[in-house]
């Protein structure tokens, strides 16, 4: 665990920023997450150790975005490369956050970090250098879809940070793509603040190459009357964690989440979500899907917190899982913590295999078992894929998944 050793000996980052100093100090006090804590206990220790084995390396980071070609109707940004953006159009504007604004916001966040729950963010902010932190302030309407790329380079550890402020009445589609190169570790922390009446359709697509690892943390704060829709897809990582932390700060907001993680070989991919209703009339509709094949391991832990102040909350969380091999493993734990007494909350989990009667039906129509399985998987993926913005027209995600699975 090269990184942790360097953190404890203070030899990791030169010319540390104030934020890095604060985070490194916090990490030194507790260099690793507590393996007994609920959100870390199932994490594969040797894979996690492998995640931390690479050196921080910000050189030779140029990379060709795999596909598709850039489009004039889409704004594309690559964290660490072309972060300069200032767009002022008739209906909207996109500004980069100033260093002061970024510092102020991140410090506020750090002050309320929990050592275990935000360990990934602490690590990220300890290592993310200035050029790898992108902050955007967006307002207006009729904004073109935005694509933001993060990527690691082979045999390296790379940390990227994204902060997005969505101002009042603003409405955007954002697709975040995290690419893990062969034998690498990528830490991506994202912070989104949705002001009143704003709406964010957010897609998070993460996929790797052989031996790539990912620590992906997403923190969202929703002001009242905002709507946050998240469609996510994680696949092809040796080890990946997707940690989602959403807070409806005053309630009266809408959150829709559809996510899928696909594991094969001996991969481990996990999703942890914490949705905190901090006011009345909050709404959540969440579905998380896992598909595990070979000897892989998929994990989902979701918690919904409904304190007394969050009366009239309407929340639903469903975990649907598909186990394709006798040696694969799925752990799922949807969880509700309800103090308020006038709420409508439900949760559930299912684990199944490919439906044999559906397969037989298709086979009696001349469709081979392989094709029938593909059709069934396609229908399983479709619900989530169709929820991921921007990707539908520009990314053949479904084809990619079906051809690789």
């Amino acid at each position: 665990m090269e990184i942790i050793e360097k953190i404890t000996t203070n030899k990791l980052v030169e010319n540390q920023t104030e934020i890095q100093k604060i985070c490194l100090h916090k990490l030194k006090l507790s260099p690793l997450p507590n393996p007994k804590s609920e959100i870390w206990r199932l994490s594969n220790k040797s894979k996690f150790s492998n995640f931390l084995d690479y050196s921080v390396n910000e050189e030779n980071l140029k990379f060709d975005t795999p596909y598709p070609k850039n489009s004039q109707s889409t704004i594309r940004l690559i964290i660490g490369e072309n972060c300069q953006i200032k767009l002022i159009e008739e209906n909207y504007s996109i500004h980069q956050l100033s260093e002061d604004e970024l510092d102020k916001y991140i410090k506020e966040q750090i002050s309320v970090f929990d050592q275990n729950e935000n360990w990934s963010d602490l690590l990220n902010l300890s290592l993310s250098c200035k050029k790898n932190i992108l902050g955007l302030k967006i307002n207006g309407s009729k904004i073109p879809p935005i694509e933001i790329f993060s990527h690691s380079s082979s045999n390296s550890f790379n940390a990227k940070t994204l902060v997005i402020f969505l101002e009042k009445n603003c409405d955007i589609e954002l697709l975040q793509v995290n690419l893990g190169k062969k034998d690498s570790s990528l830490s991506q922390s994202t912070f989104c603040v949705l002001d009143e009446n704003s709406s964010l359709n957010h897609g998070v697509v993460s996929y790797g190459e052989t031996g790539s690892n990912l620590l992906n943390s997403l923190n969202v704060i929703q002001q009242k009357n905002s709507e946050y829709n998240l469609g996510s897809l994680h696949f092809k990582f040796n080890y990946a964690r997707f940690e989602i932390n959403i807070k409806q700060s005053e309630g009266n907001a809408k959150t829709n989440i559809k996510g899928i993680q696909i594991t094969k070989k001996d991969e481990q991919i996990s999703t942890y979500t914490k949705i905190d209703f901090n006011g009345p009339n909050g709404f959540l509709d969440q579905i998380n899907k896992s598909l595990a094949d070979d000897k892989s391991h998929a994990i989902f832990e979701g918690s919904i917190i409904v304190p007394k102040i969050a009366q009239k909350t309407d929340a639903s969380q469903l975990s649907r899982n598909l186990l394709l091999s006798n040696l694969a493993q799925i752990d799922t734990k949807p969880q509700l913590e309800i103090i308020a007494d006038d709420v409508k909350c439900k949760h559930g989990a299912t684990i199944s295999q490919l439906n044999e009667e559906e397969l037989f039906y298709m086979r009696t129509r001349g469709i081979t078992l392989a094709e029938a399985s593909k059709l069934q998987l396609s229908s399983y993926f479709q619900e989530v894929i169709s929820f991921i913005p921007v990707s539908k027209d520009r990314w053949d995600l479904l084809d990619k998944l079906l051809n690789e699975n």
Partner: protein, 261 residues
């Protein structure tokens, strides 16, 4: 009647078929021979093995043939996969057609049709050509084109699902169609539409097995033979009069047969 000399070879020959699932015997020596142009009805109480017989002919992987054989066009198909049986011309119309959410009916029908066409050495159809073909077949079962854009059988009423089965039969042009309780859940008008579709699709080269509990389907499609099943066997075979007799007598007498044997 089955022993009469026929001019052509049988399409389907089930000979002394024994089959089980989870070591539980279900079929206990079924024999049945179908020649081109023939319509056979199989009747019997729930649980007598009618649907199992149809699934075994179609190749359901949950059942094991422990004795006997099934020949289709003269070839033993005991070990063929369900898709191979379908491609070669065996069609099973399901009692409860399966819903497949997320898979478009149009694409499903096209892939199925092309699998059969490939077997017949016919050119596979692209989406455009297939739409032309399917429009024509939709007429047979009086289905609206809107059904094509939905997921397979999802949100279909019972009658619509059965019509979708007959639409598939029309597209696949099977040599033998086994229709498992196609009449269940249909109102009178829908039953007539389905029956009329079946009659239009069948011809002197095809064979049909109608599995049913009731006379009403057989009023629309007159069978050449009626077989009565009980306890995994065909216990009686007759002409269409036998179905009328069953309508009057019910199935109670078949229980006595089971007790005696």
């Amino acid at each position: 009647m089955q022993s009469q000399m026929k001019e052509s070879d049988p399409i389907l020959e089930v000979n002394n078929l024994f089959a089980s699932t989870n070591n539980l015997p279900i079929l206990k020596g079924v024999s049945l021979t179908i020649y081109p142009g023939e319509i056979h009805a199989i009747m019997g109480r729930n649980g007598c093995g009618k649907s199992t017989l149809s699934k075994i002919i179609a190749g359901h992987p949950s059942y094991n043939i422990t004795n006997g054989y099934i020949k289709f066009s003269g070839e033993n198909i005991n070990s063929l996969e369900p898709e191979e049986r379908s491609q070669s011309g065996i069609f099973l119309g399901f009692q409860y057609p399966i819903e497949i959410p997320g898979v478009s009916n149009l694409e499903f029908l096209r892939v199925s049709t092309n699998a059969r066409r490939k077997f017949l050495n016919k050119e596979e159809l692209d989406t455009f050509d297939f739409e032309e073909l399917v429009k024509e077949k939709l007429e047979l079962v009086k289905m609206d084109q809107a059904f094509l854009s939905r997921s397979v059988n999802q949100g279909f009423s019972g009658g619509e699902k059965k019509r979708n089965e007959i639409l598939q039969m029309a597209l696949l042009e099977p040599k033998i169609a086994i229709l498992d309780e196609t009449d269940s859940g249909l109102d009178i008008d829908a039953l007539r539409i389905v029956a009329s579709g079946i009659k239009k699709i069948s011809n002197a080269q095809t064979g049909i097995i109608l599995i049913t509990h009731y006379q009403r389907l057989l009023d629309e499609i007159e069978p050449n033979y009626v077989h009565v099943m009980a306890d995994g066997q065909i216990i009686k075979t007759g002409g269409s009069d036998l179905a009328l007799e069953l309508e009057k007598k019910g199935y109670e007498w078949t229980d006595n047969f089971v007790k005696e044997t």
